[in-house]
Amino acid sequence: MGLFGRGSFSTIIQKIFGKRHARIGIYGPPNVGKTTLANRILRDWTGDIMGSASEIPHETRVAKCKKNVKVENGKSSLLMDIIDTPGIATKVDFKEFMNTYGLSREEAKRRAKEATEGVIESIRWLEDVDGVLLVMDSTQDPFTQVNVTILGNLEARNLPVLVAANKIDMDDSSPATLKSAFPQHPVIPISALTGYNSENLYTTMVKQFGRKRRKRRR
């Protein structure tokens, strides 16, 4: 056995230079494209997909995890467990599913009930992630309370955050507004749907989430 014992050398190198494996949560309000982005990442790096996306809010109502997704950036790489979380909201109204999206009353109520449980599950996952890919809709006002609350929470935990300014393929998108709204965090404009600028996103993910950082327990 060597001076540092078996496996210790690689552990020391990892402690000095950063992480090799990180658990990354994809967070954001409903309907910003979290699952579309999760599918994009998995398709590009594993050939798989995470789940179905829909225009109806709260399509993802149970967190889904894909382990050991290796994302490469030149010579460096990072192994990630990607968690696609249900959208976080302060309200869930079953009538919206009926009136706007034409679901039956029974179906709408079931979806609403599952959506509330999904929000709780998403919040619980914050305890167990090493970093967050926060997805925002670049066609919408970035200063929503959900965005501000999630970001504040992550800052309090000292978790690394990368903001994905999604939907830049839309005519009314304004990624510059998002960048100026959150200058303290890296903001990468992307289209999860078309894959536009995903290379830049992956490069920043490896850099941002591979960095060594001590998270605060709450």
Binding site: A89, F143, T149
Partner: protein, 124 residues
């Protein structure tokens, strides 16, 4: 039995009252008041961790026909300066407005003003 006054209560909650309560007491107090149909303006807002807990508590309390959740808008806590951190003084979170989601709607928010609207006819 006396007939209840019609109208919606908008209560301004002082910093002093909020400082007397623990985080859990504060969240219980806010949620109970909002479930009764009151709109609260907190002189001193909630921290991000408290806001997250409030969202979690709210989700547990949603009753589909009577309580669909909350509308909450506020200004995030100011970052303490280096000197404040050094002296152990943390700036407190700022003003926040919270109400039932079926009553209170946020119209616009910027760094100087939170514009909200109380929807007439609901619960009044």
């Amino acid at each position: 039995m006396t007939k209840k006054d019609k109208g919606i209560s908008v209560n301004l909650i002082s910093r002093h009252k909020l400082e007397e309560l623990s985080s859990n007491e504060k969240l219980d107090f806010i949620l109970k008041e909002v479930q009764k149909g009151k709109v609260l303006v907190l002189e001193q807002g909630l921290t991000s961790m408290e806001q997250t807990s409030l969202i979690e508590h709210t989700m547990r309390e949603i009753e589909q026909d009577t309580f669909i959740g909350i509308e909450m808008e506020g200004y995030s806590e100011d970052k303490p300066t280096f000197l404040q951190k050094f002296l152990g003084k943390m700036k407190k979170p700022r003003m926040t407005v919270i109400g039932p989601a079926d009553l209170l709607k946020t119209i616009r928010k910027d760094s100087n003003m939170i514009q909200t609207k109380i929807i007439p006819g609901k619960r009044s």
